[in-house]
Symmetry: C2
Amino acid sequence: MSQKLVLAIDAMGGDAAPAMPVAGCDLASERFPFVEFLLFGDEAALAPLVAKSKYLGARARIVHTPDVVSGDMKPSVALRAGRKSSMRLAIDAVKDGLSAGVVSAGNTGALMAMAKIGLRMLPGIDRPAIASFFPTSRGESVMLDLGANVECDANNLVQFALMGEVFARHVLGLPNPSVGLLNVGSEDMKGHEELRAAAAILRDTHLPIRFHGFVEGDDVPAGTVDVVVTDGFTGNVALKIAEGTAKLYSGFLKGAFASSFLAKIGYVFAKSALAKVRLRTDPRRYNGAMFVGVNGIVVKSHGGTDALGFANAVGVAIDMVTHGFNDKIKAELAHIGTPVEPPAQAAAAAG
Amino acid sequence: MSQKLVLAIDAMGGDAAPAMPVAGCDLASERFPFVEFLLFGDEAALAPLVAKSKYLGARARIVHTPDVVSGDMKPSVALRAGRKSSMRLAIDAVKDGLSAGVVSAGNTGALMAMAKIGLRMLPGIDRPAIASFFPTSRGESVMLDLGANVECDANNLVQFALMGEVFARHVLGLPNPSVGLLNVGSEDMKGHEELRAAAAILRDTHLPIRFHGFVEGDDVPAGTVDVVVTDGFTGNVALKIAEGTAKLYSGFLKGAFASSFLAKIGYVFAKSALAKVRLRTDPRRYNGAMFVGVNGIVVKSHGGTDALGFANAVGVAIDMVTHGFNDKIKAELAHIGTPVEPPAQAAAAAG
């Protein structure tokens, strides 16, 4: 951990860029003094921000980039028009070995498209997935895919399961993480054909995975399994429903504490205990979605987060780098060979 | 409302049947004195429960049925083996005009299969959907499908949108309810082909629907639209994730209030305000999922609920009956004709 580590930052991505990413890197500099930052963006805008930062000055280098990928740009347009953008050149720094990973709060679709093109996929992985932590009653779980792939076949889901398991074992440090497939029931015959085929592969092969079977929506916050695998459509809806429900609940609570004189007094007494709940459910704490499956460490921060949230996303990238996440996946896949049965067999096993 | 209304009750369905459904009908009897109950189930078990009930005695009639559909019975098995079951005969009472609707806390898949076979579909509706209320920051929304159909095509989604709109207008009493399709982004090109095709139909035709467009997961608890339309897989996961997240959050809170002496004092002061939040988010309050699209009023109660939850499900059935929900749908469909474009046109419109 005392070794130097270089991260590339897309300093122009996010609602409040470049001030927010620079402030986030400043916070991260305090927390991770062994990290150096390559800040990609408009030099004229970045230089004064870095100059007035507290810790970042000595540890940041600005790389001027003339273009910015906007939040509403289609991925295909961003690929063509964004060759000189802060996002693309930050990714290229990873490809060229100048940086160990990249963090961006910019356009998710564009970042994914550029990461796929710029870094390519890990050998044995067909599609990337977006993975993130999820608070549960037992601690936290990893869930993927949260939106990279609207549709997934059985092999994609099996590869996500493998990558999620490696993540939970090596980055979260769980000795024998359990893996579940998100479905509408726990019985074998439930759900889409792709899910049943993926379950058959995960159950029957020689994969070094503790496969729990199907889990349902309420199992995710309950923490029934350490790794929740799903397609990007379901995962994206699930993540946003959970965030929205937490917000709804906390709005109800705020209203309750403001609703009477007695309740206001109650709030004063319970304040520090409630602050711990707020801390534990703070979305900034879970900021930093990992693009797994691409041949390089790429972390996407929420576009609307603040410096603290961005610093957490930087922390996620550092965790993935220091634990050699991608090397572990490569080693795992080299060890077990192709984990996927031919589709015909998989379908037969499921039927 | 002073008219007599007869409801059929599957008194043997649910984890704590028959005691729970009978106690639920007793509670409902107090609330809805104009309702008479046909209790289908084991007479020997039901008679003493009814005898010791507070309000139900004079308003219930027991119809003895020898068989019970178990919770883990496959729908196909239940259809064959359950012809003399409390569930099936309660449904048949609706078909035969002896009852205005049926409520069951039993096996969901079996209830749906029996409702489809026993009652058939409404003219113009291809598939039934499970609909329920959802608490939002603006009040409550209706969401469907919550699990009847793992896969849905564009026409199914359009029919769900129509039925949900009629429900929100006539049963919830909203003058001009808005309808949204659940997706992973609000832009036109997002999501599955079926979703884009359904959106094209809802946007372009002469349907009397205020179509908002696509909504995302966090729009559901935010109450962005009054009716949220989705396929049964996504809807089921969404519902259970929301329930699980609310439970997680309330567990965190309980822990916080127990964590220190000061917090315990705070709880005492805030207790009555917090009780209101608990009431507002009480899952029993939202108990009672409607099977829309079948030609009869069918309400499914949560199997693990208590008497209060079951009474709420009975209330949902009464609301649907008194507002003539199915007649309103029939009238709407007769008025607008077939709302669905041929698939080729729909696909072209979406592309």
